[in-house]
Symmetry: C2
Subunit: 183 residues, 2 copies
């Protein structure tokens, strides 16, 4: 893996664990074990590396959604795969929240120019979920149902992070899967 990719990977993780603003150039450089000068060779500004991190997350998300589509032909099962992320990534979510939700919230408060790109990560999930609901025959309110599932995942992530309660996550997942079954 090239230096640039290592920087993006380290920044991605540090932005997630400590937040964008709280993560310094020095911290990223130290994580990759390169000098700040070398860092500057690859990225001129902090905003530049944020843009690279977001682009990397977009690509990773696209890849994940594609793999879910491969994993199952049943749209309801695909939606369930999304619903269960909060269980699959339980430890990270309890420790740091949802990577998408916390980043968009932070960038909103910073009035950061890259905010729309971060929000686009939400749109990726929103559109994909909408497609699955459409495939289930809910053409007219597919988007509303997609947003409902997103609402669930963001609420669960925020409270799982606040309370660190694994059982709560399990209960809410069961509840939403029951709701999905009635659709």
């Amino acid at each position: 893996m090239g230096t640039r990719e290592q920087i993006v990977a380290a920044a991605d993780r540090l932005f997630y664990e400590h937040g964008f603003e709280h993560t310094s150039f020095a911290a990223i450089a130290e994580a990759v074990r390169i000098s700040r000068g070398n860092f500057y060779y690859h990225f001129k500004t902090k905003d530049e590396i944020l843009a690279a991190v977001i682009a990397s997350r977009v690509e990773a998300t696209r890849e994940m959604l594609r793999s879910w589509a491969d994993e199952s032909g049943d749209p309801a099962e695909r939606i369930r795969l999304f619903i269960r992320i909060v269980v699959t990534n339980g430890p990270d979510i309890r420790a740091f929240g949802c990577p998408v939700g916390t980043l968009t919230a932070e960038l909103a408060k910073l009035r950061h120019p890259s905010r729309p790109e971060a929000t686009a990560l939400f749109t990726l999930f929103r559109d994909w979920l909408g497609e699955q609901f459409t495939a289930l025959g809910h053409e007219t309110d597919a988007d509303a149902m997609a947003m409902h599932v997103l609402t669930f995942s963001q609420g669960v992530a925020t409270l799982a992070n606040a309370f660190g309660d694994e059982d709560f996550v399990r209960r809410e997942v069961d509840r939403l899967e029951a709701w999905l079954a009635t659709c």
Copy 2:
């Protein structure tokens, strides 16, 4: 209003709008129109003022919950008052998210010592909602239902902040009120 109270009020608002870390001593002092030296007379450290802001929010929340209890004797109607905060405070929530959710998320990433106190704000709502569900006759799963309502509000706040969509909020509120009616 004394200087100290003005400082807490200004810091409260700035922490909400720009985040705790992004808000500097200088910014708060400027908002209150006092010198940084005067600021230091009232609060020695940034953590001290954060503690004061959280304490102030706890008191304000207690007062709000008390006023809701006065406003209606019906537990279901009281819960509805909570559910509708996302509408009542719509503009602020779309611009800055939920004050409790975004603060706890930020303090978690900063590993800040005051994190438990911020989480206690959630507990305030959680316990109050639990009491209302208990009064409705759901003793055994009152807490789970309270957490479900909190999940809703956090999810709605996060996505309202991301997409700025007022209609989405309305739809989710209607959905949860319908759920509440079936309880």
